[in-house]
């Protein structure tokens, strides 16, 4: 079973490429403090707004800080926001979706109406409003992205449960006296893992994008902590004289989100039993 999936995954070049990039980025994020060639918060006003050179590979920003080092450290922020936010999303979305789909009835109706309400509010405005009240911080960003992204996952999981709940092996297991928690977590959950995995992978990319947008707007990660979004925000002011301040963080975001999307799409194809 696993071998079959692995074989199919290996043949999907784009997914493998995405996976390799993600592994590399994760390594860079973990090792960032030791890999930075120059202290990312070291200011040097003489060297401000210098283009890429041997001393500063990706140039310097308006305070003369090394952009390459700041991007490296920003990888940490972006990936941890992505993973934590999606972790929260999965915890809430899968639990509610699983219970709604399995038990049905009033609980199902309640959860699904809640999902409808959440999905009818534009998430980015909700996030902006809440952050404006709570104050910008990286932890608030992680939690609020997680808290606003679970509804579509809950709906997906519920839909899968509804179809799997009708399979005969569920009835057969219940008929053998298997207790309900075991039915839910041992029989139902593993059969909905594939769509959850796909959705989570795509979700990490989405969360990274949202975090960058929030930092760009000044509501995410606060200076002096570097994040791709706030480097980009500085770059906006110097777009006409310092292109490297905008281009490199954009590329970092692009490559990372693309990698997660390619892996997600690839997993979808690999795990789909119909292909």
């Amino acid at each position: 079973m696993i071998q079959l999936y692995w074989e199919r995954f290996r043949q999907n070049k784009l997914a493998v490429a995405g996976f390799v990039v993600i592994v590399a980025l994760t390594f860079l994020a973990l090792a960032a403090p030791w890999l930075c060639p120059i202290d990312p918060s070291l200011q040097s006003l003489i060297e401000r707004l210098q283009g890429p050179s041997r001393a500063h590979w990706l140039g310097t920003d308006d305070l003369g800080r090394d952009v390459f080092s700041r991007l490296l450290l920003g990888t940490r922020i972006s990936l941890s926001v992505g993973f934590v936010a999606v972790g929260i999303e999965i915890l809430i979305g899968v639990t509610l979706g699983l219970c709604a789909g399995f038990f049905g009835g009033k609980f199902d109706t309640f959860v699904m109406r809640l999902v409808d309400i959440m999905l009818s509010i534009p998430a980015i405005f909700l996030i902006l409003t809440v952050l404006a009240f709570l104050g910008p911080s990286i932890y608030n960003v992680m939690v609020i992205i997680g808290l606003t992204s679970w509804p579509s996952l809950a709906r997906l999981v519920r839909g899968e449960c509804l179809s799997i709940r009708e399979r005969e092996y569920m009835l057969s297991a219940k008929g053998a006296g298997i207790p309900t928690p075991r039915l839910l977590f041992v029989h139902l959950l593993p059969n909905v893992v594939a769509p959850i995995l796909v959705s989570a992978t795509l979700g990490v990319g989405g969360a990274i994008l949202t975090e960058s947008a929030l930092s760009f707007l000044g509501l995410g990660v606060q200076a002096p902590t570097p994040s791709w979004g706030n480097i980009l925000e500085i770059g906006r002011n110097y777009l006409h004289i310092a292109w490297w301040l905008s281009v490199f963080p954009t590329l970092a975001i692009l490559v990372t989100v693309l990698a997660f999307n390619l892996l997600g799409e690839g997993l979808r194809d690999v795990l789909d039993p119909r292909t």
Binding site: E168, Y169, G175, I178, P190
Partner: protein
């Protein structure tokens, strides 16, 4: 052992209630094999589901009647008490062996969890191999297999082995061989009813196939549109069918001259 008294079951479809079983009474004595025959939609599977109370609340409901199993009222039991009966004192074998085993779990895990689900069975985990040998399967290979690695007949043997794990007094076999070809069908039924006689288990054999049921059961009930139209000793019913529907069914059995 099991007395079904005036059982009525309703299903809900798009806000309407549809009667599935009406005022049905049937008795199964200890160690006896009873056949329940009827066309699709006659409510025969519903009877089995009702005995184990396997409906969902929003799908169907037992509206009246009593289910007495070893003089305990099954309808008065809590869900947890019912769970302890399922797979332990009353087992069920489902129609389609291709879908009634979980595709992502090995046979061993699925059999072991039946033992784990019933506290009084937990001590005998060595019984898995014996249980498979009893249904003439090669234990080591079968235990380590995923369902898709087994043939239909092998899977149904696994289902029988699982149904016997709890040493039940009653097995509900809902069309256990309809999805299998005729040779495998015969092997499976021979196996099931040999074990039934050997272990003195009561069996309710549900099928649309009158000739098949007649061959393996001592008593027979004919069902039509949710009601039993005729019940009696199998041989009596075959020799002197009283109800026109029984005659019709019997006349429809293909015979090779």
């Amino acid at each position: 052992m099991l007395d079904i008294e005036h059982l009525s079951v309703e299903y809900y479809r798009r806000g309407q209630t549809v009667p599935a079983v009406r005022d049905l009474s049937l008795t199964i004595n200890p160690g006896e094999s009873v056949g329940l025959v009827g066309e699709s939609g006659s409510g025969k599977s519903t009877v089995a589901l009702a005995i184990l109370r396997l409906f969902r609340l929003q799908e169907g409901r037992i509206t009246s009647g009593r289910l007495l199993f070893q003089s305990e009222d099954l309808l008065a039991k809590t869900e947890e008490d019912m769970r302890k009966i399922r797979g332990r004192r009353i087992s069920m074998i489902f129609q389609d062996p291709f879908t009634s085993l979980n595709p992502v779990m090995r046979v061993q895990e699925q059999m072991a969890e039946v033992l784990a689900a019933h506290s009084e069975l937990r001590t005998q985990s060595s019984g898995l191999a014996n249980a498979l040998e009893r249904v003439r399967l090669e234990p080591v290979r079968t235990l380590n297999a995923y369902p898709h690695q087994l043939s239909g007949g092998q899977r149904q043997r696994v289902m029988i082995a699982m149904a016997l794990l709890g040493q039940p007094d009653l097995i509900l076999a809902d069309e256990p061989t309809t999805a299998l070809d005729v040779i495998v069908q015969k092997e499976i039924l021979e196996l099931l009813f040999n074990l039934q006689r050997e272990l003195k288990i009561g069996v309710l054999f549900i099928s649309h196939n009158l000739s098949l049921v007649a061959r393996y059961t001592q008593r027979l009930a004919i069902m039509k549109q949710g009601e039993i139209v005729e019940v009696g000793k199998t041989l009596d019913i075959l020799r002197h069918p009283a109800h026109p529907y029984t005659k019709q069914l019997w006349a429809a059995v293909p015979r090779i001259q």
